[in-house]
Symmetry: C2
Subunit: 205 residues, 2 copies
Amino acid sequence: MSDNTMVHKRTGTKEKILKVSKALFSEYGYKGTSVRKIASNVGIRESAIYNHYMNKEEIFLEVAKDMFSSPFSFNDGEIRESAMKGKAFLHKFAMQYKLLTFDKYNESMFRILLIELLQNKDIREQFMNEFHNKNIKVLSEGFFIMMQNTLIRSSDPMIMSYEFLSTLFYIRLQITLMRYDSISTTSLSTQFEKHVDFFWESIKS
Amino acid sequence: MSDNTMVHKRTGTKEKILKVSKALFSEYGYKGTSVRKIASNVGIRESAIYNHYMNKEEIFLEVAKDMFSSPFSFNDGEIRESAMKGKAFLHKFAMQYKLLTFDKYNESMFRILLIELLQNKDIREQFMNEFHNKNIKVLSEGFFIMMQNTLIRSSDPMIMSYEFLSTLFYIRLQITLMRYDSISTTSLSTQFEKHVDFFWESIKS
DNA sequence: ATTATATATGAACACTTGTTAATTTAAACT
DNA sequence: AGTTTAAATTAACAAGTGTTCATATATAAT
């Protein structure tokens, strides 16, 4: 009963470390957050951290996992149903993306994760699998269904998804950067909607 | 004859520092490149660096400036002429972008600059002005001319440019990441062309 | 030759970093 | 109660950081 999976359940320190780390990493980034600072915010010494995690990176990777694994809320059946509505499907997808973009925690974490994305292979893999591929898959399914029902022109669903997703990403990046500098994003706030409008005009049959 | 602009011309050390820094920053990044390492590669002590640059950041900013200021080679007259050809204009633009993406130095530097983009306000401004705005401007002019000549459907040229540029950026990001991990990019190598094809189908009248 | 200036040096400052080792405290199981 | 094990502590390591300061050298202009 006390094997590898179910030990360490006496103090709840591990959970506290994760919670504190989330807050600190999202605010100060990976390099800006020291093990000492995590420890002191938890209320223990830095050496005690190593009773729960192998090293700093392991903590960060677990924080990142939580971030990427918050997926877009589309159940399997829901995709088909939603895709039949055509433009509304794209709109819903974009609005979910917009929500993430303007959410306080996701906003900071997006910036931090991008930094690490460019330096940490594990983060890159998480990004590719959990973000890129997963989204391309959902979108492709949607577009495929739309094509079947001749709501949109016939084309490669993967390419179409790529085109749709890439612009969402770029908008998010730009908004994130501007908000980080406290620059007003009112001029960009409707960019998501404009993207959907433009894109729909581009593909509708 | 010896005012602020034309002093410091005895040893050429400043130029050497810049050259060495370019190589080091592009390989090891900002934080991975210490002032001591730059100095030793130049062949001087770290303290001598400060006779030429105020601090480490000033060196990096100058390296970055060089990077961003390598603009797309479109002269004013050339845009009009090229835009009249419609799709070929987009193709040329995308191919220039592709060239940059697969150029050894630009490839490393793109990654490094993205990292700093997310942390350094000056880099962000350089990116917005020299990269984003400049490209949106060139593209907008092109699209505007195409619309005048009814080569493409009528729409907001700025939005259209945004849509076109954002995908190029995303492709570049993805290729950069994959090549950094030595993952084969053959599946993505024609993505630029596919983008142009898809986009042209989306806007042609 | 003397002065002025640019450029270099060596040494130090003041501080932070992730991680480990030996040891003690505290809780749970027998 | 005693034993086992988890979890915490104190202390140190070994290294690297950007930057500054007083000083020395070399070059160009006077």
